[in-house]
């Protein structure tokens, strides 16, 4: 194997390892920020890791009447997130796997995970599972136009929808980032990231009140190792999406070569960016309440218009 290829493989491995190791920590940081702002002490940032460890040691449960769909959904969910973590340009813009999947493919992979979990919810045959699945698919279906429209706005100006090219594009001309089109696309994507990862005001990640939940209702029957996988997957989704947002709209620091020094800097910078964004998101959530389910379409319609404006505005405002 030639030296650049080896370096590339190493970069992918390091990136993947960091995302997997860092995702539960990100969740821990966000919970800690929220706890402190609400005047609680908080469990510490490593608590999600301890939870995962504990759950992984427990036996999984197959509820009566469930099938292979229920059993394999957590694996599909984690696998789709891992694939995104391997192909997206977090550390460097020229990772060897970059041509494998572009922005649209990444969006489709996320949707694959959502669909798998919704099927698992339906497979349990309980009212909660069905309710969670129905709501999750509603939100995902309505979020799809916004994501692709924002993707349209981003890729139209760069001439490619490959993630590496997109990040390099904003790196090369930073004025794009603060142009109206760039800002609108950033807001639109931020809203759908909140919707896709089940954050406020769309879903409450810490709720356990059945009638208000979306994500938690689908995973109610999971236990032990399966539950650990589901928890890990939702942390991974949050991390990969925040990382993508960070590099698309605040691209500074990302390596454009495969030089070890640049890669190390890229790694540290992306970790810092994602942690800061996570903390900001958690702090923002303190001031938000969950919206009624039937107002969520209004929110998503709003973010869709942001996406359309991001495309339109780029015609007449630089």
């Amino acid at each position: 194997m030639s030296a650049p290829a080896a370096m590339g493989a190493l970069a992918v491995a390091v990136q993947l390892g960091t995302v997997v190791a860092g995702a539960p920590l990100l969740v821990g940081v966000m919970r800690q920020v929220r706890a402190r702002m609400e005047g609680r002490v908080g469990p510490g940032v490593t608590q999600p890791w301890r939870d995962l460890h504990k759950l992984a040691g427990k036996e999984s449960i197959s509820p009566d009447g469930t099938s292979w769909v229920f059993r394999s959904a957590p694996t599909v969910l984690v696998a789709s997130s891992l694939l995104i973590a391997a192909v997206a340009p977090y550390v460097s813009t020229i990772l060897p796997l970059d041509p494998t999947a572009d922005l649209f493919a990444v969006v489709a992979l996320l949707l694959l995970g959502t669909g798998a979990l919704a099927l698992a919810g339906l497979d349990t045959g309980t009212a909660f599972g069905g309710m969670g699945a129905s709501r999750a698919m509603t939100v995902a279906a309505l979020a799809e136009p916004t994501i692709l429209m924002a993707g349209f706005a981003l890729s139209a100006r760069v001439g490619s929808s490959n993630l590496g090219a997109l990040v390099e594009g904003s790196l090369r001309s930073p004025t794009i980032v603060v142009s109206p089109a760039g800002l609108l696309a950033a807001v639109a994507l931020a809203v759908v990231i909140a919707a896709e990862t089940g954050r406020l005001p769309v879903d409450n990640p810490s709720t356990h009140l059945e009638l208000t939940m979306i994500h938690e209702a689908m995973v109610l029957e999971y236990a032990g190792r399966d539950l650990a996988l589901v928890e890990l997957a939702s942390a991974l989704r949050l991390t990969v999406l925040l990382g993508l947002w960070a590099n698309l709209f605040l691209p500074w620091g990302v390596a454009t070569t495969l030089h070890p020094g640049a890669l190390a800097i890229g790694l540290i910078v992306i970790a810092a960016k994602v942690l800061l964004l996570g903390a900001a998101l958690a702090a923002g959530e303190v001031f938000l309440a969950k919206w009624r389910l039937f107002r969520v379409p209004e929110l998503l319609a709003g973010s869709f218009v942001f996406g359309v404006l991001a495309v339109t505005v780029s015609f007449f405002l630089a």
């Binding site: 040691g57 427990k58 036996e59 999984s60 449960i61 197959s62 509820p63 009566d64 009447g65 099938s67 394999s72 694996t75 984690v78 696998a79 789709s80 891992l82 694939l83 041509p99 494998t100 999947a101 649209f104 489709a108 949707l111 694959l112 959502t114 099927l119 339906l122 349990t124 045959g125 309980t126 009212a127 069905g130 699945a133 129905s134 698919m137 509603t138 279906a141 309505l142 979020a143 799809e144 136009p145 994501i147 692709l148 429209m149 993707g151 349209f152 890729s155 139209a156 001439g159 490619s160 929808s161 490959n162 090219a165 109610l220 029957e221 389910l293 039937f294 495309v311 339109t312 015609f315």
Partner: protein, 690 residues
């Protein structure tokens, strides 16, 4: 004899044997023979198609077969892709039909019993005829030949739709709708082609192609509008789609598969052949028209599919959606072709054609799966299905493959063509220096439509698969389901294999697609580079820095899943446990979410478009108003376009019919008199004009 000739003779020969067998063979072997012959016909067609896509061509001119005209056949790459679609579908449907029609219930017995009609002589003989007609339509090379085969296809499919007419009244209604729509379509196509051939001074496609540039713009546009309307009605495009959600559910399932995957796609073939090949492209408003109609169909189709509770109706509406997506691609290709941006036009047309192939593969699979469920349980209503994963494991697994592909999620095949379509649409703005205002306004809307369709499509197929096959049985019929016989599963496995091949190796289609586009004069540039290229693994696009490799995504998912499944091994085995029932442990199937309840949130969101009807009837107890005896809740979502558009039309037609009835009084002499007067008039007109 060339390969093409041999395959063509195989196709015709097998179809003739099949028709004869359907008419003459005893009932014990009839279904097996007809099914096998249908599959062989399809095989012959597929071989012709594959050879045509590889670059072989063939022109046959048989002057004496048709009265007043000649039978002309020409095989080129554009017809090749549609031959491949029809042939592939026919192989799966033919094999499947063997088991489906020789169901024990389908034997001689009570003719009103459901499923009886499939095994009858008429419907058995119509099946190979239908397949042969569909295979001949794309290779017909003059107007008469084309129309003869087109009509043969329509009649054979009508006979097949009516197969179970004794058992259910809805079949008869569906048949009437289908017959009316398909013949209205035929009349319009006939008019369009006659105007075209008249202006071109010849009815062979070659002559029309040569003469097309000299025609006046008005004639060209009239021809385009007429033929587009006719072909769009066959393709099930909104608002001409009304026959589709009636006829497809009522037809036997392998016929539904053939109609939905192959016949509907031939509507697209007609549009491509006339607008892009014979007319050689047109002004940009043609493209805009196709784009807008396609976008409407895509969104309306997927919305109706999402709220449908009848599995086959859901699949029928999903066909409207997918044809809509293809038309979006074709329309955008027309728009850019008219603008002179040929690379982009080629890419979009390639996306549309690939989507046609992909759609045929997964829709065949899904209709066959629906047929297996129907045959085993007698159910089409999703609200009464469920629990099939335990009773019909193989069918459920195949349904999962079909749903994944139809939902356009990776690693399915539908994803690849939708990805190409999105690439073509999004890069419309960056590819040119200055953006045409029409492009600038239409492309964001088109991307929004495709995205909404994609999102709702995922929700639709999560619903269809999750509610239909998973969880516990919602009715006794579903609880007693049994797996289908081998021939049926073989047909389904063949379709699933097609999906898998298309999903993993779409790059193989790049060469043939380039060859097709090279035959369309409006889209070929001088320095032609293939619109879609790439090595064996990665799909690359011309003029756009875009790439994606479906094979690597599938491989990556598999590797990641394997790592997750193996890595931190749980110490103890999986334990079965009762489901949490909120403290009580008496969960029954009535507590499960149904298809209707699953769709409820989005039905509410799209309230303004769908206008669901809801009735609540509360029956009070006889002794006290405060006690309730029963509550009835009914919820139905009608096709609003049909409810708004068609009643006035039907009223007008039947009013006209009442008027025309005065001419009919039962006197034979008067009827003969009409003929006599007609003859005299014709003679006078001819005499005067001469």
């Amino acid at each position: 004899m060339s390969l093409l000739g041999a395959a063509l003779s195989l196709m015709i020969g097998a179809a003739s044997v099949g028709v004869t067998a359907g008419l003459l063979a005893p009932v014990t072997v009839r279904a097996g023979l007809v099914g096998a012959m249908t599959a062989v016909t399809g095989l012959g067609g597929a071989v012709v198609g594959a050879a045509a896509l590889a670059g072989h061509r063939l022109v046959l001119d048989l002057p004496h077969l048709l009265p007043l005209s000649r039978l002309v056949i020409s095989v080129d790459p554009l017809s090749g892709v549609f031959l491949l679609i029809v042939g592939g579908t026919a192989i799966a449907a033919g094999v499947y039909a063997v088991g489906y029609s020789s169901h024990p219930d389908h034997g001689p017995g009570d003719p009103t019993e459901p499923g009886h009609g499939v095994a009858s002589r008429t419907s058995q003989a119509a099946l190979p005829a239908f397949v042969a007609a569909m295979l001949l339509v794309p290779i017909a090379a003059n107007v008469t030949t084309f129309l003869v085969f087109w009509e043969l296809m329509a009649l054979a499919s009508l006979v097949l739709v009516l197969a179970e007419h004794r058992a259910r009244a809805e079949v008869r209604e569906a048949g009437i709708w289908y017959a009316a729509m398909t013949h209205a379509g035929l009349v319009v196509i006939l008019l369009g082609l006659v105007v075209f051939a008249g202006a071109a001074g010849g009815e062979s496609f070659a002559a029309m192609r040569l003469a097309a540039p000299e025609l006046s713009p008005a004639t060209r546009s009239i021809v385009f509008c007429l033929t587009f309307a006719g072909f769009a009605s066959k393709a099930g495009v909104v608002p001409l789609h009304v026959w589709l959600p009636r006829a497809h559910p009522e037809a036997p399932s392998h016929v539904s598969a053939l109609m939905s995957s192959a016949m509907v796609t031939l509507g697209l073939y007609g549009i491509l052949r006339v607008a892009f090949d014979l007319l050689g492209g047109g002004p940009s408003w043609w493209g805009v028209l196709m784009l807008v109609v396609g976008a409407l169909s895509a969104v309306y189709g997927v919305l109706q599919a999402f709220v449908a509770t009848d599995l086959k109706r859901l699949l029928a509406y999903s066909t409207t959606e997918n044809v809509g997506l293809m038309l979006v691609g074709v329309g955008a290709a027309g728009l850019f072709g008219a603008d002179g941006n040929r690379t982009l036009a080629g890419l979009l047309l390639a996306a549309a054609l690939l989507h046609a192939v992909n759609h045929a593969a997964f829709k065949t699979l899904l209709f066959l799966v629906a047929g297996s469920v129907l045959r085993s349980t007698g159910l089409r209503d999703l609200d009464r299905m469920g629990g099939l994963v335990a009773r019909m494991p193989l069918t459920t697994a195949l349904a999962a493959v079909g749903a994944l592909c139809a939902a356009a999620l990776p690693p399915g095949n539908g994803f690849v063509s939708e990805w190409l379509l999105l690439q073509g649409l999004t890069h419309s703005l960056s590819a040119q220096g200055s953006v045409h205002v029409l492009t600038a306004v239409l492309m964001p809307l088109a991307v929004g439509v495709v995205a909404l369709t994609a999102g709702l499509g995922v929700a639709t197929f999560v619903k269809a698969f999750g509610v239909g096959f998973l969880a516990r049985a919602r009715s006794p019929e579903a609880g007693h389901a049994v797996e289908s016989p081998r021939t049926m599963t073989a047909g389904m496995v063949f379709a699933a294999a097609g999906c898998a091949a298309l999903a993993v190796a779409p790059t193989l289609a790049a060469g043939p697609l380039t060859r097709i586009i090279a035959t369309l004069p409006s889209l070929t540039g001088r320095a032609e580079s293939p619109p879609v290229g790439g090595d064996a693994i990665t799909l690359r696009l011309a003029g756009i820095q875009g790439s994606m490799s479906p094979a690597l995504i599938a491989l990556g998912l598999a590797v990641a899943a394997a790592v997750v499944a193996i890595a931190p091994r749980h110490r103890r085995a999986r334990r079965p446990a009762p489901i949490w029932g909120c403290g009580g442990n008496r969960l029954n199937p009535r507590m499960e979410y149904t298809a209707t309840s699953f769709a409820e949130p989005l039905t509410r969101v799209f309230d303004d478009v769908l206008h669901p009807e809801e009735d609540v009837d509360v029956t009070h107890h006889r002794e006290s108003r405060y006690l309730i005896e029963s509550v009835q809740f009914r919820h139905r979502v009608d096709d609003r376009i049909e409810a708004r558009l068609y009643p006035p039309l039907i009223a007008a037609v039947s009013g006209w019919g009442r008027y025309a009835r005065r001419a009919q009084n039962g006197s034979v002499h008067r009827y003969l008199g009409y003929g006599f007067v007609g003859l005299l008039l014709v003679l006078v007109v001819v005499g005067v004009s001469a």
